[in-house]
């Protein structure tokens, strides 16, 4: 599995997301309270850019009329048809087995021995790194 520098840490403060193209792949990277998640930046339905979706929490019900809200900020809704995807897994909420988008491992590192053309890689500071 190769590692690819995707962005500088300061470019994705908590609560934001960016869309980057890494080795020909479009990746949406989300920062949820300092934790990073990477999804292929295309809804498997019609290709809406997930990086332009709004993040909400997970709404579940153990019975009608009940709205259990958890994991605030960890679900992204496609900006087009509103399909919900779990940032941790890329799986859709309505049918996780059949409908999902690819999920990428993300890490933060100093990017030593890596460089990228459009991010100015210096020896100081940390980078958001996508693995695939």
């Amino acid at each position: 599995m190769a590692k690819h520098i995707a962005a500088k840490v300061e470019d994705i403060p908590p609560g934001t997301r960016v869309s980057v193209e890494v080795a020909g792949r479009k990746v949406a990277i989300f920062n949820v309270d300092g934790e990073y998640f990477g999804l292929r930046d295309a809804c498997p339905h019609m290709g809406g850019l997930l990086s332009e979706g709004v993040v909400i929490g997970l709404v579940e019900a153990n019975k009608p009329g009940c709205y259990n809200y958890s994991r605030g900020g960890e679900i992204v809704r496609c900006p087009w048809h509103g399909w919900e995807f779990d940032l941790r897994t890329g799986k859709s909420r309505f049918d996780p087995k059949r409908w999902k988008t690819h999920s990428y491992d993300i890490e933060v590192g100093d990017g030593k021995e890596m460089h990228a053309e459009t991010v100015d890689v210096s020896t100081e500071g940390d980078y958001v790194i996508v693995k695939f």
Partner: protein, 369 residues
Amino acid sequence: MTVETIGQASATKPANQKLAIADCDIHPSPKSVEREIFPYLSKRWQDHYQTYGMLLRQPYQAGPAYPKGQPDAARRDAYGPNGEKPGSDLEFMRKHHLDPYNVQLGVLNPLKSGQGLQNPDFAAAYCKAINDWQIAEWTSKEARLKGSVCLPYEDGFLSAQEIERRAGDTNFIQAFMLIRTSEPMGNRRYWPIFSACQDANLPLAVHAFGFGGTPVTGGGWPSYYTEDMVGHSQSAQSLVSSMVLEGVFERWPKLKLIIVEAGFAWAPSLSWRLDRIWAQNRQELPHVKRPPSEYMAEHIWYTTQPFEEPDRRGHLKDVFEWIGWDKLLFATDYPHWDFDDPTRIPLPRATDEQKEGFFLGNARSLYGI
């Protein structure tokens, strides 16, 4: 470790340039009513707008009682670069939609156009202003776009006047109503509309939504926006039943009806149902000379957005064949959230000719352009 190129993903996804399309449902909005619509409203109606707003047969001043799934029911990516309202900026619409999808004909269907207002005189004045605005801000500036004559449809007489005013004006290619009328659409109060459309050779498009004042199901008001949205299909079925069983197509044999954004897969079973009921109730319906399915096949077109998505495309192929490929019109509903991407809809297997007709040719021959 590998060397990578990093760049921002483009805001608009690349589209298949070869596919030329007619988009039979695009929704333009004014950036500001005061700036863009007031120039076409008399002082009286400007004052009325400022004082009372636009009172519909529904509870809230600001919007529907079933809140939408997204703000303004819009795609999240359809706001302009300076935050312009979705569908309000021609330049952005060109870049974001018309160019990348190779839209050769775009049909403008303005909503919030004064249709169905409680006050019929205000409805007529506002619809007329919206129609003037379509010319000034859209069709005169962009040849690919064509307007719809918005009708104050609850008043058949005033609607006919508006159609007559626009007859022969090539800025417009259809007359425009909303599905949820206050009485079934074949009712005689709407007949002046059909006469005027036939005389002006304008197809009549009927779009989902509207507030007729009665519950959106025959069994009362449902709870959820989901039900409201799915319910447009049932409203459309009642509309078609009424148009056929009132004998509208017998009386106006050249009338063309387009059902917009209300589904299409229901049409075959409705036509079978109406044929059965017609055959059994001929005594009540002497004015309906032929089986309803024949009127439906000859007079009704359907836009396909939001596209049906059965698990098997073969099932949808049956539906396309039952309706007839030549009666289905592609539409995106831009800039709304339930947008259909022409390159991504699960279109059934089709011949090149069927495909060309579906995406462009059917609309061209229907509108005669």
